[in-house]
Amino acid sequence: MKRLLMCVLAVGLLPAVAALQFDGDPQRATALRPCDADRDRGRQAESRRCYQALANSAAPALVRAEAQWALGDLRAANELFRAAAAAAPRSVQPRLRWGRLYLAAHQYAEASALFAEAQQLDANSFELQVAAAELGAQRFQGGAALEELGKLAAQQPQRAEPLLITSQLQLDAGDTAAAIDSAARALTLLESQQRTPLAALSALAAAELAAGRDPQATVDKALRFNPRYGDIHATLARTEIMRRRYREAAQWLQRAVQVEPDNWQALEELGVNQLRLGDAEGARRALERAYAGDPFSATTVNTLRVLDTLPQYTVEQSSSPPLALQLHRKESAVLQPYVEQLARQAVASFSARYGWQPKQPIRIELYPNHDDFAVRTAGLPGIGLLGVTFGDVVAMDSPSGRRAGDFHWGSTLWHELAHVFTLSATDHRVPRWLSEGLSVFEEWRTGPTPGVAIEPNVMDAWSAGKLLPVARLDEGFMRPAYEGQVQVSYAQAGLVCLFIEQRYGIDKLVALLHQYQRDTTVPAAVQAALGLSSEAFDIEFAAFMKQRFAPWAADPKRLRVQLRAAQTALEKKDWEAATRAAREAVQVLPEYTGSASGYLLLAAARLGASDKPAAIEALLAWRAAGGWDPEGQRQLVQLLSEAGGEAEALPVRVALNLVDPLAIADHQPLGEQLLKTGKPLEARREYRALLALQTQDPAAAWLGLARAEAAAGNAALARRHALQSLEIAPHFRPAQQFLLELRGEPAP
C-alpha cells in the first residue's frame, strides 16, 4: 500500500502554497498607514510613491523594511528586517514581521524559526500567536490550528484575523456554512472598525463559491473598494482548484491578472494551472511574466525549468480512445506499447462502468526524473507522490523514476485513469474519498494487480477505532490527524466501495458516484443511492469489517507475532516451524501481500524444505491476493518453468512488464513464450522492447522480431529482420537457418 499512500490528487496542494494572507498587525508603524490605505484602495502609483519615500527616508529599519516589502523588493526588505532584529535583540516585533515576510514568500522553515525566536521573547504575544496559527494553516496543520484559533478569537473578540484563518480552515474541511459565517463575522468587524475589508470579502466569496452560491456581489463589493484587487479572483480560483475544476480556475485567474496585471502570484498560479490543463505554451507565457516580476518564486523557477525539458519528450497521439502519451525520448520506444495498451484497457473498462466517454484526448505524462514530476505537479520537488490526475491529464513517475520494485506503474496508471472517469462523470463534484475509494476499488477489482491488498497499519487503525464515519472520510485525506491517516483513508475508502459492491451491487456503487452529478452531501448521496442514512451505513460497514477481518480481530497482534516467528525460524533453517508460522500469518490477514508478507515467507520455507510445489502454490496465492514484487514474480516464473509450467508462467512474465518493463533480461524469454503460444504480435512488442533497450544481443532480438513477423504473416518484414540480424552477426546459425528457410533453401 506504499503506492496508495503516495498516490493522491492535487487537491489541497495549491492552497498550501498560496493561501490568503491575513496580516492585520496593528502594531505596524503608523507611518505606513497612509501608504497602506492607497494600496488597499488600488491607488498603485500613490502607494508606490508613499512607500518609496519611506524606504528612502531615515525612518527606522523596521519601517523601511515594511516599505521595501510593499514595493516588492524582498531582498532589501530581508536585509532591513535582519538589521532591525539585530538592533533590537529583545524585541518581538522585528522577528514577527521578518517571519511574516518569509511566510508571504512561502519559506515556512525560516518563518517558523523566526516565530520560535520571537516566542522565546514573549510567549503571550497575540500577534505572534495569530501568525503561528496562520503558518500552521498554510502548512496544512489545520486540526491543531482550529483549536488554537478558537482560543485566540475568544481572547480578542474584536480582532478579525482569527476568524479569517478559521474560515479558510473550515472551507478546507468542506464546512462551507461555517466558513461563510466566520468570514461574514470578520467582515462585520472590519467594516465596523473601518479597516480594509478585502481579506474578509475574499474569504466570504470563496466560501460562497464553495457552497454553490454566486459570489459576484461580494466580488463587486471588493472591486468597488479596490478596482485592482485581483486577489479576490485568485482566491476564487484556489477554491475551484480545491474542487479540481481547473478550467473554471483558469477563468478566475485570467480575471485576476486582468484587473491586476502585476499580480505575480496570480500569474504563477495561472501558469501552473495551465499545465494542469495540458497547455504548456499558455503555462510558459504566464510563468515568464510571473518570473519577470518575481524572480524569487521557487515554484515559478522550478516550473519554467521543467518546461525547458519538454523538448526531451515525445507526444504520441492515438484515437479510439483518444490518448496523448507524453514519454521521455530515451524510453518512449520501450514504454509506449505497454502504456498505451494498459490505458486502452482502462478506458474501455471505465467507460463501460461509469457511463462516460472521453471527449478529448486523455493526456498521460510519465517523468523519468521524479523531481520533474513533482515540480510539474506541485511546483516544488520533494513531494511523496507517484501519480496525479488533473481532470483529463494524468502525470506520474515513469518506471525509471524509481528503483525497480518501489512501485507498480501499471496500478498507478490504472488508479489515476479511474480518477479521470470519476471526476469527469461528476464534473469534478465527487468528494475526494469517493474518487480515491473508487480508484483503489478498481485497482483491486479490474486493475493489473487484482486482489484486495491491505497493509497491517490499516488494520491497526481499524482496531484502534480510528476509521472515520463515511460522512467525514474526506477529513482523513484533507486534514490528517495522525501519522499514516492518509494511507489508512485510501484503504478505508477502497473498502467502503468494496462493501457497497458486495452488499448492494456494482450498480449501486455507480449510482452513488452519479449522485454527484449535482451538488450534494455525503449523507444525501448515501441516502439517495443506497436508501439508508450515513449513520446506518457506518453501522453496516463496521459489521462488514468485523466479518471480513474476523481472524485479525480475534488477535490484532497475532500477524506480527507469526511473521516474526516465521522469520526467526527461517534464519534457523527450521523449515517446518517457518511454514507453520507463515501459514498462520497468511490466515490472519490474507490481504497483506507486501514484501514481508506470510506468502513470501511461506514460499521461502517450502523452498528451504525442497518442496517446490508448495512454494509455487504459496507464490501463486500471493499473486492472486495482489502481490506484485518483481523479485517474487521472477522467482515464481523460474519455479514454474523448472516444473514445466510455462503456460502458468506466461501471465506472470507478462505481468512483470507492468512493474519493471526496463529489466532487459525478461523480454527475450517472454518473447519466446509468446511466439510458442501463437501470440506473434505480443512477441513482436517484446523484441522491439529489447532493441529499444539496446540489448547486448541485438542479433537475437532481430531474429525474434523476424520470427514474430513471419508468424504474423508478414513475410517481407520477416526477411528484412532476418537480414538485420545477420548484418550484425553473419555467422548466427539460427538466423542463417531462418533466412534459408524463408528462401526455400532448407538445411541439408
Binding site: 547486448q696 538485420q724 548484418e727 546459425r733 542463417q736 534459408l740
Partner: protein, 296 residues
C-alpha cells in the same frame, strides 16, 4: 573476423594482485585463473599463457615476465596483459598493489615500451584507480582498457568479473562468429557494470574506458568449435573461403551509406546466404571430426 597472420604468436600475461581481504584475494585469483584458461584458446600453446597469482605475483615476477616476453615477441605478434586487483593513485603515479613492493605505473609503461613497436599490445588494467594509466600507456599499436576513468575512482571495481564473463561465455560475442574481440569484451563488460550499478540504484563508482585503435581486431577468446580442429586441412580451406566472402562483405559495408535501405539489403542477402552455406559445410565437417575424434 580477426586478422592475425597465420604465423603470428599470441602471448598472454594475467596477474592477480593483492586482495587485502580473503574474499577479494580469492575472487581476484579465480578471475585471473579463468581468464588465463580462456586465453589459451587464442594463444593456442599453453606455454604462451602466463599466470601470476597470490605470492608469485610480485613486481619482480611481472617485470621478469614482461622483459622475457619483450625479447621473445616479434613484429606482428600479439601481447595481451591483464592486471586484476587493487590499484591506487597518489596524484602523480599509479601503483598496482602486489606482494612486496608495488608495481608503479611508470615502471609498467617502461616495461611495455620495451617491446618491438610492431608488436600489437592489449593492456587491460581492471583495478581501482586504473584510469590514471590510460594516458601514460597510450601508444601506437597498443589498445589500453582501464576499469575506471581516472585515478580518482578508487573503489574496488566490478570490471574484471565481467571481463572474465566475456571470455568464458558467449554473452559478449555480439556478432556470433565464435570469437570474442577486445572491443566486444569491453562493450559487454562496460554495459554489465553500468547495469549492475543501475540495478542496485547505486552511484556508479567506476567508468571503464578504452583507448587506442584496433580493439575489434584483437581476439581475446575463441568459443566452442572455433577453438577446436584448427589443424584440420579441410576446415582450413573452408575457413579460407569464408574469409574471402567476409572480405567482400566488409567491402560492401563500406558502401552502405551510399545505398538505399532496399538496395543495401538486396546486396547483403547473397553474401549472407553464401556465408550461411559455408557455415553449414564447416559445421558438417566439425561434426564429422567430432564423431571421429579427429585431430585438433
Amino acid at each position: 573476423m580477426c586478422c592475425l597472420p597465420a604465423q603470428a604468436a599470441v602471448h598472454v600475461l594475467v596477474v592477480s594482485g593483492l586482495g587485502g581481504e580473503a574474499e577479494y584475494a580469492k575472487r581476484f585469483a579465480d578471475q585471473a585463473s579463468h581468464i588465463a584458461q580462456a586465453s589459451q584458446s587464442v594463444a593456442g600453446d599453453a606455454q604462451h599463457v602466463r599466470l601470476l597469482s597470490a605470492e608469485a605475483a610480485t613486481a619482480a615476477a611481472v617485470e621478469q615476465s614482461l622483459t622475457s616476453l619483450a625479447g621473445t615477441l616479434r613484429s606482428g605478434d600479439q601481447l595481451i596483459v591483464v592486471l586484476i586487483g587493487h590499484g591506487s593513485y597518489d596524484g602523480s603515479d599509479y601503483r598496482y598493489n602486489l606482494p612486496g613492493p608495488d608495481l608503479t605505473g611508470a615502471r609498467l609503461v617502461k616495461l611495455l615500451d620495451a617491446f618491438a613497436p610492431a608488436v600489437q599490445q592489449l593492456v587491460v588494467v581492471a583495478t581501482s584507480a586504473s584510469g590514471a594509466l590510460a594516458k601514460p600507456l597510450q601508444r601506437a599499436q597498443r589498445v589500453v582498457i582501464t576499469a575506471t576513468k581516472s585515478g580518482a575512482e578508487r573503489n574496488a571495481t566490478r570490471y574484471a568479473s565481467q571481463w572474465e564473463r566475456a571470455l568464458t561465455t558467449d554473452a559478449a560475442d555480439r556478432d556470433k562468429d565464435g570469437t570474442v574481440t577486445a572491443q566486444e569484451a569491453h562493450d559487454f563488460a562496460e554495459r554489465q557494470v553500468a547495469d549492475a550499478f543501475k540495478a542496485d540504484a547505486a552511484l556508479a563508482t567506476e567508468h571503464a574506458q578504452l583507448v587506442g585503435d584496433g580493439a575489434s581486431r584483437i581476439v581475446v577468446a575463441l568459443l566452442g568449435a572455433k577453438a577446436l580442429y584448427a589443424a584440420d586441412a579441410q576446415l582450413q580451406v573452408l575457413r579460407g573461403e569464408q574469409q574471402q566472402v567476409e572480405a567482400r562483405l566488409d567491402a560492401a559495408r563500406s558502401r552502405k551509406d551510399t545505398m538505399s535501405e532496399d538496395a543495401w539489403y538486396g546486396a547483403l542477402e547473397p553474401l549472407l546466404v553464401e556465408i550461411a552455406k559455408l557455415d553449414q559445410r564447416i559445421d558438417a565437417r566439425e561434426a564429422q571430426l567430432s564423431t571421429a575424434g579427429g585431430a585438433r
